[in-house]
Point group: C2
Chain length 225, copies 2
DNA sequence: TTGCCTGTTTCTGGATCCATTATGGAGGAG
DNA sequence: CTCCTCCATAATGGATCCAGAAACAGGCAA
């Protein structure tokens, strides 16, 4: 009796598309054809439709009636605003989370952070950075709060990558310094400091991001039409 | 040439279910059977499934694989947390919105407010109160921000009603006073004051709400199992 | 040449049928 | 009498087929 859960087909499709979108294989503006995805998985179009609904709930695709699905493309103001939302919500998530974070988590955070500092590969950085922040929020037991935070990360994922591409390793040094401040505050169980550092971290990222308007050109990577 | 849009069937079903849930006809914890809804609308189960996916994206139902849909039931802490999220996000929405609100909107706000003060019917109050706040955010052109705010209102809708039921008309007087402060701040185009009043409005509501833990009993209205 | 109209094609939306999984009750063992 | 097991039932998940809307290409007229 394996505890293997035999995921529903629609979940599998959703997971795969999610990975593709988050990894940048499907750039913003790119259309997603149900039939193409369906035969890619050897299923009918129905689970694909369900998967697309799930992803639209997560902010990863947008659905237009009778016109299909596409990866959302955000303009400069919208990205900035999502960062403003993150700036307000994620500190709350962190404050809620800290009381439930034990020393094992803190240790794990330091391990992730050391891997971030060791490995400067872009794709790897994006994954680890996300993992780092999500782990700091993991003590927060509200699915609403966590889900909302995840959605924000999803919608801005592509622009995080574009930003890191143009701002280079210098940006990573700053991120590293700020991450370590956050870890220390968590270890001291100091929610006020943690909140302050995190809000500042996100705010500075947003401001820095706005200094690179070239990221928001018509279509940064293919994705015509 | 009518601009009538011939809504998709799934949208119609979603709209109807949405209204039913928000009006309290379907209480938290209540299961939603696809087949029942389907024959209620004379359609197949497929558009119902799509509608349920939409509603789950809006936070109005929760889906569990192979177990169907139910109206989410929140505990005390979760509701409080959603109010904390509202307290942080809605002031941002208001600040973003104010520059785009013209005098016509202000006038409309005063009309809604006068209707709230005139009509003390509970159901009507809930609708008008929501309409009021959403109108103050209507100048904000970000679908992400507006969508998130709407989701928060959706998830707490049932507890807003339960709260008004137990706290009575006294609560309405306070709400009225605070609404008028917000209108004035908007009319003066003073985002700082507006933000302050709104944050205080939500915070005080949250605190007051927590003084009635009896609302979070096993099941306030039917909805067994 | 340019703009509009129309026919064709392609893709999404919906209906029906089948497979799979959860649920609830009856019956038997301890 | 209680608890476990097994089975019948009902509800969800998926496949296939069909209808309708949108994009595209070609032709016609100004």
């Amino acid at each position: 009796m394996t505890t293997e859960v035999q995921l529903a087909m629609s979940e599998q499709v959703a997971a795969h598309l999610r990975a593709q979108i988050l990894s940048g294989t499907m750039p913003p503006g790119g259309r997603i054809r149900q039939e193409v995805v369906a035969e890619q998985f050897g299923t009918s179009r129905l689970p694909v439709r369900e998967a697309l609904r799930m992803l639209s709930a997560e902010g990863l695709v947008e659905l237009e009636p009778n016109k299909g699905a596409r990866v959302p493309m955000l303009d400069e103001h919208e990205v900035s605003l999502v960062y403003s939302m993150r700036e307000r919500l994620e500190p709350l998530a962190l404050v809620e989370s800290i009381p439930h974070l034990d020393d094992d988590i803190v240790e794990e955070l330091r391990i992730i952070q050391s891997r971030i500092e060791a490995d400067t590969e872009l794709q790897e950085f994006l994954i680890l950075d996300r993992e780092f922040h999500m782990l700091t929020y993991s003590g927060c037991d509200s699915e609403h709060l966590l889900g909302t935070v995840r959605r924000f990360w999803n919608t801005t994922q592509h622009y995080r990558r574009a930003f890191m591409e143009v701002s280079g390793p210098r940006r990573m040094w700053i991120v590293n310094a700020e991450h370590n401040l956050i870890i220390d505050a968590i270890e001291r169980r100091d929610p006020d400091d943690a909140e302050r550092y995190l809000a500042g971290h996100i705010r500075r990222t947003r401001i820095e991001l706005l200094r690179h308007p070239e990221m928001f050109g018509p279509a940064s990577t293919g994705a015509s039409r």
